[in-house]
Amino acid sequence: MNGFVIAAIAMLLGVIPCGIVVCRGTVMEALVAYELISAIVVMVLILLPEGFRRSGEFELPLLLAVLLFGSGLVFVRFLERWL
């Protein structure tokens, strides 16, 4: 277990407070927590392949980063007017 894997595990601990906000906060607060979770998960998915030396798995965070950008904007747009 090297520093990248340890950092990934430590970053995952940051999802817990965000999960509490998602469960207990208002809908806009949950959206803010969702955006933070997205950034954390993308970084974790970068750190794990680097830590385990699996270069073929770097496509997953790239795809996730693109999709999360689009999905975040769609969430915001719907919450702005219709939900």
């Binding site: 520093g3 990248f4 340890i6 950092a7 430590a10 970053m11 601990l13 940051g14 999802v15 817990i16 407070p17 965000c18 509490i20 906000v21 208002t26 809908v27 806009m28 607060e29 959206l31 803010v32 927590a33 955006e35 933070l36 997205s38 950034a39 954390i40 993308v42 970084m43 970068i46 750190l47 392949p49 680097e50 270069s55 770097f58 496509e59 965070p61 790239l62 980063a65 693109v66 999360l68 950008f69 975040g72 904007l73 915001v76 747009r77 919450l79 702005e80 007017r81």
Partner: protein, 123 residues
């Protein structure tokens, strides 16, 4: 333990500290206007630290290029989503994001002692 490993570990420690601090900030702040400030360090500075750590550890490889491309999307998405989120919160609260339009007061309800953009009022 080489110098590269030490530098990479320091950068990773910085990224982890930023992420954990931002998470706690999002948890303890009162409303969406205060919480959104804590997304930026985790979405802007921490990815840069992670990218530098990968660069230091792996050198200029295809893995590093993929990492920086991925983190570029995160770094671009962070401020854009933060702006869009605040705009949406204000529209939900007042009907229009511009000051003085669509509402009786231009002050956010959190500053008036309310619960912020709680999603209750919708135009």
């Amino acid at each position: 333990m080489t110098a590269r490993t030490v530098v990479a570990d320091i950068l990773l420690g910085l990224a982890v500290a930023l992420v954990l601090g931002s998470s706690v900030g999002v948890l303890v702040m009162r409303d969406v206007y205060q919480k959104i400030h804590f997304v930026t360090p985790a979405a802007l500075v921490a990815p840069l630290a992670v990218g530098l750590a990968v660069l230091v550890q792996s050198g200029a490889t295809i893995v590093t290029a993929q990492t920086w491309l991925t983190l570029l999307f995160v770094v671009i998405a962070g401020p854009v989503l933060a702006h869009a989120t605040i705009r949406a919160a204000r529209i939900r609260e007042k009907g229009d994001w511009r000051s003085g339009r669509g509402g009786a007061s231009s002050q956010p309800s959190s500053r008036r002692g309310g619960s912020g953009a709680s999603g209750g009022s919708q135009s």
